[in-house]
């Protein structure tokens, strides 16, 4: 399953870092951060609980880039 989230991040490098962090989160198959449109597209693994996975994604992103936001 694929979902798109609106995000807020200031620099392109931070967006790359967020993408990496999101990819490494358990339950996420693939993730792309689009800095230009300020969007994150997350592909979930089969049977993953979207809400809890996204909370983990947000936590991991905050770890690498404090100044970011994902609108869940």
């Amino acid at each position: 399953m694929k979902k798109t989230y609106k995000i807020e991040v200031d620099c392109a490098n931070c967006a790359n870092k967020m993408e990496d962090a999101a990819k490494k989160t358990a339950g996420v198959q693939n993730a792309t951060v689009n800095f230009m449109t300020q969007k994150m597209i997350v592909e979930f693994e089969e049977g993953a609980d979207v809400d809890s996975v996204m909370k983990a994604v947000l936590k991991n992103c905050k770890k690498v880039e404090d100044d970011c936001e994902i609108y869940l």
Binding site: N13, N16, F35, M36, T37, I41, K63, V64, D66
Partner: protein
């Protein structure tokens, strides 16, 4: 400017003013340090906090860390050595100005590009009890009647029930000529209604309408990353640790060597250089400019009616060397037209008139093209005793004369001597009262711009053009000859086309990409098999939009070379930015390492490169004149 940006601007102004005022005051010792600490903290507190948080999370190699380390180092050198605190503040100040500019420029260009693609309708008008009601287009159901007034965007795809008007389709196709519509015409969302009021019966939901689909496609396009972008991400990952290691070496080794040679160690000089090295090393320009260039390129292309589904496809398109075409509907109009009339004694129009009338009862495409060429209303009362001989043609009485129209077999059957035609196409022989009167040739017309498009492609460095068609050999070769196409494969079944494309893919070098251009109707498998699938004439055709990587909104083959030129320009800018940014970086790092540049120059170089790279990236947006 956003709130965040305004706040930053205030911080920059306040600390800059404080720094200048303090420079005029003759204060010495610790008081001087504490006073200078105020503007330093005003401008840099968030960076210090972020750097601190980063250290706690063991994410140390980021730019905040670099800036914090460099400026704190400069402050310490100020305390122990020079009493010069201005440098740390100035560096922080420039860094923040650079960041502010970056976020402003990027935000601005993001907005500009989004505005270019502004085909999103805001509302739909519904008539209720005699008054117009504006509703959210999302809430309009299929088969609802909506009203579009002059100057408004058509919100949802549908069919015109009432009214005539001209539509401006330029936001969708890049075509500036308006399109006229009347009752029963299909209209698609995103067009602007220019002259008359239109009553439209919707045929799709808003989410399924053309405008929504295109917006969705373009907005998600930059999420499919190109190899250049992947390269930058990888580069940034190894770059920062490498730079930190170099800086450490720069701080430690030269003083140690000095000590060994029993010279003065010069710790503060080398630590200062190492810190400057760190400041100069920020990879921002590179990381920002590449995706921005692609974003601008995709935006500019969509303004021209070329929708690119991802940065990776734009990149592949720029490397295209082989272009494979489908014939019908791509290079030709897919509409059969009378292309020649060879008459005996009857005048041309009379011959056409008889033929059209004889065929007037038939609904065959050939009959229709005859009627179209005749151009006047058919008078069915003049026709009687219609006799259709399947596989041969028609015999009918027109104005009392027996008219036979059909192929050679029909003529033989009637015992009429006929002459063959040198022209390629479907030939209809006509005999009147059993006497040969001439023939009419019907063929698929070339698009007016096809030949020019081929020439343009050759000019832009395409090595080979190939045409695949299910049509007869003679027809295919005649078309290829008149257009200047290199290779023709004719009489192919749809499955053979995939096999042919695979053959071509095998034979070509890996770096040269192969593009297939089709109309998207029955060539979806070929579109997806080629390196790049280009579908044309996609206005309103969902199948084409789904199957292709690049979608040409109208069916003008000139757009193919245009798309290639756009992609080349965009990739050119990407490469310029990569080379320029890395070159300036390396140069300034070398200058710093040899002590030829101070921290100010380092930060200027960094911000300057970034500004130039961003401005250069924006150039990708301007593709009108390519």
């Amino acid at each position: 400017m956003t709130k965040k940006q305004k706040k930053m601007l205030i911080r920059i102004v306040v600390s800059a003013v404080l720094m200048i005022v303090l420079g005029l005051l003759p204060i010495e010792g610790w008081l001087r340090f504490f006073l200078y600490l105020i503007p330093y903290l005003i401008i840099g507190y968030d960076i210090l906090i972020k750097a601190g948080k980063g250290i706690l999370r063991r994410q140390i190699f980021d730019e905040n860390f670099l800036m914090a380390l460099a400026t704190i180092g400069a402050m310490i050198i100020g305390i122990v050595d020079s009493g010069d605190y201005v440098e740390a503040i100035a560096v922080m100040l420039f860094y923040q100005i650079g960041e502010l500019f970056q976020s402003y420029a990027v935000g601005k260009s993001r907005k500009n590009i989004s505005e270019l693609m502004d085909i999103r309708p805001d509302y739909a008008n519904i008539e209720k009890d005699g008054t117009l009601l504006q509703v959210d287009p999302d809430e309009v159901e299929v088969e609802t009647v909506i009203i579009v007034q002059p100057g408004e965007k058509i919100p949802i795809d549908g069919i015109v029930l009432e009214g005539r008007s001209s539509l401006n389709t330029s936001a969708l196709t890049g075509e500036s000529l308006p399109r006229d519509v009347k009752e029963n015409d299909e209209v698609i969302s995103g067009c602007i209604n220019m002259t008359g009021v239109l009553k439209i019966r919707t045929t799709k939901e808003f989410g399924e309408s053309t405008a929504s689909k295109i917006l969705d496609l373009v907005e998600n396009a930059s999420s499919r990353k190109s190899r250049s972008e992947a390269f930058i991400s990888r580069f940034a990952k190894i770059y920062t640790p490498a730079v930190c290691a170099c800086a450490l070496a720069l701080a430690v080794f030269p003083p140690l060597v000095n000590l060994l040679l029993s010279n003065p160690a010069g710790w503060s000089i080398w630590i200062y250089r190492a810190l400057t090295f760190l400041v100069a090393s920020c990879p921002c320009a590179l990381v920002i400019s590449v995706p921005l260039s692609f974003f601008a390129g995709i935006g500019g292309a969509s303004k021209e009616g070329v929708l690119v589904k991802g940065s990776n496809y734009l990149e592949a398109l720029s490397q295209t060397r082989y272009v494979v075409f489908d014939k019908t509907g791509t290079l030709t109009q897919g509409v059969f037209e009378v292309s020649a009339i060879h008459h005996n004694e009857l005048p041309e129009d009379k011959l056409l008139e008889y033929a059209a009338h004889a065929e007037s009862a038939s609904s065959h495409p050939i009959a229709q093209s005859l009627q179209r060429a005749y151009g006047k209303e058919l008078d069915r009362s003049r026709v009687s005793d219609v006799q259709e001989i399947s596989g041969n043609g028609v015999i009918a009485k027109v104005d009392g004369r027996i008219v036979a129209a059909g192929n050679g077999k029909l003529m033989k059957r009637l015992g009429v001597v006929y002459s063959d035609c040198h022209k390629v196409g479907t030939v209809i022989h006509i005999a009147i009262d059993n006497e040969y009167a001439g023939h009419i040739v019907i063929s698929d017309m070339l698009k007016p711009t096809s030949a020019k498009a081929m020439a343009e492609l050759k000019k832009s460095g395409i090595q080979k053009t190939v045409m695949l068609t299910g049509d007869a050999k003679a027809v295919a070769e005649q078309v290829a000859d008149s257009l200047g196409i290199d290779t023709v494969c004719s009489e192919l079944l749809p499955g053979d086309k995939v096999a042919k494309v695979e053959e071509l893919l095998e034979a070509k070098p890996v770096k040269a990409k192969l593009a297939f251009v089709g109309d998207g109707i029955n060539d979806a498998p070929v579109l997806s098999r080629a390196d790049i699938g280009i579908a044309m004439g996609a206005m309103g055709s969902d199948a084409a939009i789904e199957a292709a990587d690049i979608v040409l909104m109208d069916d003008d083959p000139m757009k193919i070379s245009k798309a290639i030129k756009i992609s080349r320009k965009c990739l050119g800018i990407v490469h310029q930015n990569i080379v320029f940014a890395i070159a300036v970086k390396v140069l300034s790092l070398i200058l710093v390492a040899f002590g030829l540049a101070n921290m100010w120059i380092a930060i200027f170089a960094d911000v300057g490169v970034m500004i130039l790279a961003v401005l250069n990236a924006i150039r990708a947006l301007f593709v009108k004149k390519l």
